[in-house]
């Protein structure tokens, strides 16, 4: 297979088709469409793993695919812009109340955020998404990841605006597309509760009432989508072909994630066990993070999106672009970041090394998969460090805001904070 692909005209474009974003590319959708037109189930082949709604969506817009992908990216940027703007307003209002109530220690004044500094953040977020090379790459390659990002961005926007119905619908749509956004349910619920001033308290009936309401809206719209898919194709094929494909990871084509090499090397009889471990890993962080960050649901959303894009079974560079767009929103954490320099250098170097090692492995045949996987591993470690660094910085700032900036031990010496 590799030999036939050598140096076709689109050689330079081809490597990132295969390597960065092999999952969910448009030409796969085209294949599905062709099968559908022939009256065969689009899942009959082994290539197409998109949801039925996507295939019907492209049934109408396939001729304008380029424009659709560009629009999706623009939509994501606008949604993020509005969401962050609104969120910043909320943050600023809260800060004002806290200041008026004199809840902050005196030496924390330098941690207070100013409107001047916050003014450009929404614009920076939108630009960070649009100008990110990963976004551009993903858009040029026509990856459906751009559409998923748009859905998630709309979900965030609706949540921040406090529209629980729309939030539930978009969350359901995102879940329907790729399962993993399921973990965003918790932060969305927390945020909506916070907005309605309902405390997270097991004994309060208002808490249970709203939770049930939101859950029903979410499950209801999810149900509608799944049933709609069934009526469109009049078969349940898509369940195993879309969700089974995501969960059981049968396709081990190299990508920037952690799954492919691991499962390519593994003995067959351990496979089920480790797939469970790997998949539970993605969902597991929701519980501790929700407990720790229950006061800060938007930061929790950021953490969850990042975790999904690192640990999901077929990650693409488009996923990374989405969570990286949020980094300017946490600019004020900059002083507490510990190894941002190291991490950004590693991320940059890895992004440059991906195509080089891919070239050496597939085209030149002189390196092998271990070289490439080493870089994948490093890239993901750097991402994990980046996310945990931001997590630490966020918690630390909150800690300082309640306990004062210059911490003293009991004996009067300077104290350092440790994340536990």
């Amino acid at each position: 297979m590799v030999e036939n692909n050598v140096d076709t005209t689109g050689y330079t474009l081809f490597w990132f088709h295969r390597l960065m974003i092999f999952y969910g590319l448009l030409f796969v959708v085209v294949e599905g469409l062709a099968l559908l037109d022939l009256g065969v189930s689009p899942y009959a082949g082994d290539v197409f793993h998109e949801t039925p709604l996507i295939i019907y969506f492209f049934h109408f817009v396939i001729d304008y695919a380029e424009i659709v992908f560009m629009m999706a990216d623009a939509l994501t940027a606008v949604a993020l812009y509005l969401a962050v703007k609104d969120y910043n307003k909320t943050v600023f209002r809260k800060q004002k109340y806290a200041l008026e109530a004199e809840r902050y220690p005196l030496d924390c004044l330098e941690l207070i955020r100013t409107p001047k500094e916050m003014y450009y953040i929404p614009l920076k977020v939108a630009m960070f998404y649009l100008l990110n090379p990963f976004t551009i790459l993903s858009c040029v390659a026509k990856s459906t990841c751009g559409l998923n990002n748009a859905v998630i961005a709309l979900f965030i926007l609706c949540t921040v605006k406090g529209s629980s119905l729309m939030s539930a619908i978009f969350l359901a749509l995102a879940t329907y597309q790729s399962i993993y956004p399921l973990t965003l349910f918790a932060p969305a619920l927390l945020y909506l509760l916070q907005r309605l001033y309902i405390p997270v308290n097991w004994q309060r009936s208002s808490f249970w009432l709203f939770t049930t309401q939101y859950t029903f809206m979410y499950l209801g719209s999810l149900c509608v989508m799944v049933c709609l898919s069934f009526f469109l194709l009049s078969s349940w094929d898509f369940l195993s072909s879309v969700y089974g494909f995501i969960l059981s990871v049968p396709d081990l084509t190299p990508n920037i994630g952690l799954f492919w090499y691991f499962f390519a090397e593994m003995f067959e009889h351990f496979r089920l066990f480790f797939i469970c471990v790997f998949q539970i890993n993605v969902f597991f962080y929701t519980i501790p993070l929700s407990i720790k960050l229950k006061e800060h649901p938007i930061f929790l959303i950021f953490m969850q999106i990042a975790i999904i894009s690192i640990f999901k079974s077929y990650p693409t560079v488009g996923d990374i672009a989405l969570y990286m767009a949020f980094l300017p929103a946490w600019n004020h954490l900059y002083r507490f970041l510990r190894n941002i320099f190291l991490v950004s250098v590693v991320l940059l170097a890895c992004s440059a090394l991906f195509p080089v090692l891919w070239h050496l492995w597939i085209y030149a045949g002189s390196a092998n998969s271990n070289f490439y996987y080493a870089i994948t591993l490093l890239f993901n470690v750097a991402q994990i460090l980046l996310v945990s660094d931001y997590f630490y910085a966020y918690l630390r700032r909150e800690h300082h805001l309640t306990h004062g900036l210059y911490l003293k031990r009991k004996d009067g010496s300077e104290a350092t904070l440790v994340l536990k």
């Binding site: 030999e3 140096d7 600019n331 510990r338 320099f341 440059a352 002189s366 350092t416």
Partner: protein, 613 residues
């Protein structure tokens, strides 16, 4: 509690001494690679080629020479490739014969080989494997060259074809290829064989094919007897064939008793003497320079792109007493093909990344990479130092507060624009250097009394030199915004950029990466706007990529024991530039775009720092 940062001066000194030490250690490590006790002896890794016995019986050297003479006569009569004669001869030897015609218009005339509009024909015959399904193939090629060159090679090729036809143990198709116009013909044939078209050539499709090609040898032989055989490994973009192919060649030379060389240098046993060491070092340096050039150094060079292990074997006739006749060379080739025929899978057991200080010794990637790593680490140290200076909390420090350093938001706050301007302008210059020479040749020819080739080369040099004036113009755009922090950020960007760039280059082509690192790392490490301007500017120009190329030309000539005068060296330098551009246009060599689009802009960034106001 963390101690305050050390005083600037002593920190600068410490860093400078670390940098110098790393640099010297890197160079010393590299030079040490040629020292025999530090190298490994080559050994055959591939089982299928190692233990099996082959008896070589090729008898017909004299007849092959006669065929060669006949070929020469026909070549002379036709004034080019005697296609009809070759087809007839190959058919009479029982091969399936096909031809492929191709035309190619070069972007500008090639003055070295005197060609512009190239039109030619490849002739190849396939010997079908009698013993196995025809899914794999081997290639033996000989170029049809101008003048009296390589007639013996074609003769031997035809002789071997006849002899191989009578044998029954072939499990792979053997393709005998006579290609015209050396690499251009080879490129056309390979692209036709693999259904690709990367460089926009125009060729007719192939009518017959064998299986997927496993290995290829290209034969160059211009005399009836030879004194030694030279092995050429360096291919396109510095790619090398699997080391087992070289091992195979060496093993058969030992067995049959043929003198063999690499880089035209015989092997010596006196490694413990100075002259012995310098001989090995010269051999290795020649390999490094050839690999760094990214050119295919023989007709085999283009096979490597298609994941086919290939090498050129070149017969050399010098004044030495001991001569080898064509029958022996035929036996050698027979043995090699018999062993390659035994392969069960592609050659992959041995190394792909290596340097050879002699034919029986090699240095693998694990040994030579530290030399590059020591140079690259200087860049990273410098970047780290700048980062600390820029006032961020030092990485690894637990407490962002205790340092007492006030950080504005992000290190890029001193105006992203003031950094972006030089970066963008430098890259625009790079793009101009890449595109303009070929685009503007017609205009240049109309206005100046130069040939097309000269026009291309001189335009390239002119744009390269014009880039030196950039800092002044950049500042006009900026209206004197340059701050102390500004150049630090720019330098940080340049250092990281250079480190990533050189790292990637060294992975694909170690020699190129290392040579560039040798010249660029010192200036990247020490350049600031506060160093004495005239002196630093002179050093920077002397260490710029263009001048590095000039030195490489002289060193290469010196190592090949054909030293040139300054005048000739300059002419050679000009022709090397035109060859580089041609290699890129014809075969897709990446060295010219790499230098023009990435390395040169990176150097311009450093140049901008020197003239930061």
């Amino acid at each position: 509690y963390y101690p305050p940062l050390r005083p600037v001066r002593s920190r600068w000194l410490a860093l400078a001494s670390y940098s110098v030490m790393c640099y010297l250690a890197g160079v010393a490590w590299f030079m040490g690679l040629a020292f025999e006790p530090f190298t490994l002896r080559t050994y055959m890794s591939e089982n299928a080629m190692g233990s099996t016995m082959v008896e070589e019986r090729f008898p017909a050297g004299e007849r092959a020479l006669a065929t060669g003479r006949e070929f020469a006569a026909h070549k002379k009569k036709v004034g080019g490739m005697p296609v009809d004669w070759l087809v007839k001869t190959m058919q009479s030897r029982g091969l399936e014969v096909f031809t492929q015609s191709f035309t190619r218009k070069l972007p500008f005339p090639d003055e070295n080989k005197e060609r512009y509009m190239v039109r030619g024909t490849n002739v190849y015959g396939i010997l079908r494997a009698p013993r196995a399904p025809r899914t794999e193939a081997l290639v033996l090629s000989a170029p049809c060259s101008e003048g009296n060159n390589n007639n013996q090679a074609v003769g031997l090729l035809l002789g071997l074809a006849q002899y191989f036809r009578s044998q029954i143990h072939w499990a792979k198709d053997i393709i005998f290829l006579v290609n015209e116009h050396d690499l251009i013909g080879m490129q056309a044939w390979l692209e036709g064989y693999h259904h690709t078209n990367t460089t926009g050539g125009d060729w007719s499709p192939l009518q017959g094919r064998g299986g997927s090609i496993q290995a290829a040898l290209s034969l160059e032989l211009s005399s009836d007897v030879i004194t030694s055989l030279d092995l050429v490994l360096e291919g396109l973009n510095g790619q090398l064939p699997n080391l087992d192919l070289a091992n195979l060649f060496y093993a058969f030379c030992q067995k049959i008793g043929v003198l063999c060389t690499i880089q035209g240098k015989l092997q010596r046993n006196d490694w413990d003497t100075t002259s012995g060491y310098s001989h090995a070092a010269q051999t290795m340096m020649l390999m490094v320079l050839k690999q760094a050039s990214g050119r295919p150094w023989g007709d085999h060079g283009l096979f490597l792109r298609y994941h086919i292990e290939a090498a050129s074997i070149r017969g050399i006739n010098s004044f030495r007493q001991y001569k080898t006749d064509t029958t022996t060379i035929g036996r050698l080739l027979e043995g090699m093909y018999r062993k390659l025929n035994n392969l069960l899978e592609r050659l992959h057991q041995s190394y792909f990344f290596y340097l050879m200080p002699s034919l029986s010794r090699f240095v693998s990637i694990g040994y030579y990479m530290p030399a590059f790593g020591l140079l690259a680490v200087i860049l990273l140290l410098r970047a780290l130092d700048l980062w600390v200076q820029l006032g961020a909390s030092p990485p690894g420090t637990e407490d962002g507060v205790a340092g007492g350093v006030q950080v504005s938001y992000g290190p890029s706050s001193p105006g992203v624009l003031s950094i972006l301007t030089p970066v963008v302008i430098s890259h625009m210059t790079g793009v101009a250097l890449y595109t303009l020479p070929i685009l503007s040749q017609e205009m240049a020819v109309q206005h100046f009394p130069v040939s097309e080739t000269e026009a291309v080369v001189l335009t390239a040099i002119a744009i390269y030199t014009a880039g030196l004036a950039l800092p002044h113009n950049t500042h006009r755009l900026l209206q004197g915004e340059g701050t102390e922090e500004g150049w630090r950020v720019l330098k940080l960007v340049a250092l990281l950029y250079l480190a990533v760039l050189l790292g990637c280059t060294a992975l694909i082509n170690f020699s190129l990466g290392f040579i560039l690192a040798l010249s660029l790392v010192p200036i990247a490490a020490f350049i600031t706007p506060h160093t004495p301007k005239a002196l630093s500017a002179a050093i920077m120009v002397l260490l710029s990529p263009g001048c590095t190329l000039l030195y490489c030309v002289f060193v290469f000539q010196e190592l090949q024991e054909t030293p040139v005068s300054l005048q000739d060296g300059w002419m050679l330098f000009l022709s090397v530039i035109s060859q580089g551009i041609l290699d890129h246009a014809l075969y897709g060599s990446l060295v010219y775009p790499l230098l023009a689009l990435l390395i040169y802009p990176c150097w311009l960034l450093l140049w901008n720092i020197l003239f930061w106001k």
